[in-house]
């Protein structure tokens, strides 16, 4: 299988140009393949979020190479990186991060609106289908504040899927939910992974959830370590 994203010798330091330079990632090599379902685990402060931000092209590495679909992102300007991110990657955050001023449907449509410049009928139909898939067809016209935590996160999943990205990055998508809702979301991600063939990378604290993922990536002190059950 081909790689969606490849990281070569990625280092990331904070506080560059100040007396206290902290290197958070010490030379990471990682590749996420098409259709993969992976968990990223590690203790607090191990660099999980930083790694996820780098994979999501939200941050730039201090050194090293990031290839998206074989294309080097080094030297791309802000607009080009933004466009690449918008189309290739869908985000699910720990806190749903829906836009409060927009309805569930509009939130799901937002990535395609951003991509196309305006809302199209096709985008609306696709968004409705996605909401149906996450079981929230009836909540299409509700604002995020009118939905429960689990429902909000499901809208966020639908939104992450809206441009059929090849990679979905989920930063503790269940961290803020009760066990039941958490399980729902996890299963939703699994079904998305199987139906849409989108690769999923899930950051989680929960060993039980991690063990249900096909691949487990563990990071400790800014370095990848072989995890138990590595496939």
């Amino acid at each position: 299988m081909t790689s969606i994203i490849e990281l070569h010798q990625i280092r990331k330091s904070y506080g560059m140009g100040t007396p206290v330079v902290t290197e958070v990632l010490h030379g990471i090599d990682l590749s996420i393949r098409e259709g993969e379902f992976a968990a990223l685990t590690g203790p607090s402060g191990s660099g999980k979020s930083t790694l996820l931000n780098l994979i999501g092209l939200l941050e730039k590495p201090t050194s090293g190479q990031i290839l998206v679909g074989g294309q080097d992102t080094e030297g791309l300007d802000d607009a080009a990186v933004t466009a690449l991110r918008g189309r290739a990657i869908g985000f699910i955050f720990q806190f749903h991060h829906l836009l409060p001023g927009f309805t569930a449907l509009e939130n799901v449509m937002m990535p395609s609106i951003i991509d196309a410049g305006w809302p199209t009928t096709a985008a609306k139909e696709a968004a409705l289908r996605l909401l149906e898939q996450v079981g929230l067809k009836d909540a299409a016209d509700k604002r995020p504040s009118q939905l429960s935590g689990g429902m909000q996160q499901r809208v966020a999943v639908a939104r992450a899927l809206s441009l059929s990205p090849r990679l979905i990055l989920a930063d503790e998508p269940t961290g803020n939910l009760d066990t039941h809702s958490a399980n729902d979301i996890f299963e939703l991600l699994q079904s998305v992974n199987q139906q849409q063939q989108s690769a999923c990378l899930i950051v989680t604290h929960d060993p039980a959830l991690a063990s249900r993922c096909a691949r487990q990536i563990q990071i400790v002190d800014g370095q990848l370590v072989p995890a138990p059950g590595l496939s």
């Binding site: 939200l58 607009a79 466009a83 918008g86 985000f91 001023g101 937002m110 305006w118 809302p119």
Partner: protein, 406 residues
């Protein structure tokens, strides 16, 4: 969604709706600011036009006269003392006036040229007499300088033959009516009998008593200036360029050329300080509106920081984010100026109703000049956009990771 709203519009309108209170307050601010600017500008320009019209309606914008006679002395350069008395200025004609008049007529910006012979004289009827200013004019040409028909109370502005037109005060003093006879006498004893063809009221008691119009020919013979004229009156298109035109003509002819701006220096400085205070008010109102819009947007950017981060993470480019806030600023300006124009119109109509001239006519009319409205709206739009630039840039430069973490 029936209407395909582009992204920036959609997000911007939603933000405006979300922050209803902010939107209403800043719109009220911009509306008030634009209304003040339009109202003041219109009011002051109307008042100025009416003041200028009242003052300059009865006088030429530029007057060309013969230069003053000066003493030529031939004192040796090392002389230490001399008493030089100023010369008495006898009535002198403008040298080569016909070609000067032609030159003036060809000068750009000059609308009308009227030669005049004027000098001192007396108007007498029976035992009564009054000192007057004899003014020999060409009726057609002079009416292009001073709109005499507007001021005529009785009869018409006819100075042909031995007809004369006099002011209402002189008519009262001498007990004259249209058709009556009147004797005009000059200092060296020349005199003639005239019949009153018209009586005018120019709105100034002194001029109503002093001005007596005759034809150029008659005035020339009464004042002993055969073929000569004493001044050339001009009317110009741009009132406030009168001085420049006067200077140009003076340089070309070497004659004494005075514009209304010199003869009415006080009026001019009053008009100027009025315009200046208007400009000051406009400047400060504009600055306040700009600061208001900018501060609302700065707050809005801070409030929306997280959402901006999310939009950025979903693929919205910095420029897209920037355009949302630029649009917001532009809309504040545009909508505010539309409302402000309406408010200004209402204010102006109200003002027109409650204020009256001495003669009961309206001091101002309740009409807006399109150019004033358009420029005020353009100003508001520009100010809105400009005020939005800094907050919008701030929004565009937000780091998505940082913004989402907040």
């Amino acid at each position: 969604m029936a209407v395909r709203l582009p992204f920036a519009w959609m997000v911007c309108l939603r933000y405006l709706r979300e922050g209803r209170m902010q939107t209403l307050l800043i719109l009220a601010g911009v509306t008030g600011g634009v209304a003040v600017i339009i109202f003041l500008t219109t009011l002051i320009s109307q008042l100025q036009v009416s003041i200028i019209d009242k003052t300059l309606g009865s006088q030429a914008h530029i007057v060309i006269r013969a230069p003053q006679a000066v003493n030529r002395t031939s004192l040796p350069p090392d002389s230490t003392a001399a008493i030089i008395q100023p010369r008495a200025q006898r009535l002198r004609g403008v040298d080569q006036w016909a070609s000067v008049a032609q030159l003036a007529a060809q000068t750009p910006g000059v609308l009308a040229v009227s030669p005049m012979v004027s000098g001192a004289g007396f108007a007498a009827r029976a035992d009564a007499s009054q000192s007057v200013a004899l003014m020999g004019v060409d009726a057609t040409a002079f009416q292009r300088i001073v709109r005499m028909p507007k001021y005529l109370q009785n009869g018409q502005f006819d100075v042909s033959g031995t007809n004369t037109v006099i002011g209402i005060e002189l008519a009262k003093d001498l007990g004259l009516a249209v058709g009556d006879k009147l004797r005009l006498v000059t200092m060296d004893g020349r005199d003639d009998l005239f019949s009153v063809a018209g009586i005018f009221d120019i709105g100034n008691r002194d001029l109503n008593r002093r001005w007596v119009f005759t034809s150029i020919k008659v005035a020339q013979s009464l004042l002993n200036l055969p073929g000569g004229i004493t001044q050339i009156d001009l009317r110009v298109a741009d009132l406030f360029a009168a001085d420049a035109t006067a200077r140009q003509l003076q340089a070309q002819t070497g004659l004494t050329v005075d514009s209304w701006m010199q003869t009415n220096a006080q009026l001019l400085s009053a008009l100027n300080s009025q315009s200046m205070s208007n400009n000051l008010i406009r400047f400060f109102v504009t600055v306040i509106v700009a600061v208001g819009i900018a501060s609302v947007l700065v707050v809005s950017v801070v409030q929306k920081q997280k959402e901006i981060g999310i939009l950025r993470a979903m693929g919205a480019s910095p420029w897209r984010i920037m355009s949302v806030f630029l649009l917001q600023g532009g809309l504040y300006g545009l909508v505010g100026s539309a409302l402000g124009s309406g408010l200004a119109l209402a204010l102006l109509n109200f003002f027109a109703k409650i204020t009256r001239n001495a003669d009961g006519s309206a001091l101002v009319n309740g009409e807006l000049e399109l150019s004033v409205v358009v420029s005020a709206c353009a100003l508001a739009l520009g100010v809105g956009l400009l005020a939005a630039v800094l907050p919008a840039r701030r929004a565009a430069r937000l780091d998505p990771v940082q913004a989402i973490r907040v």
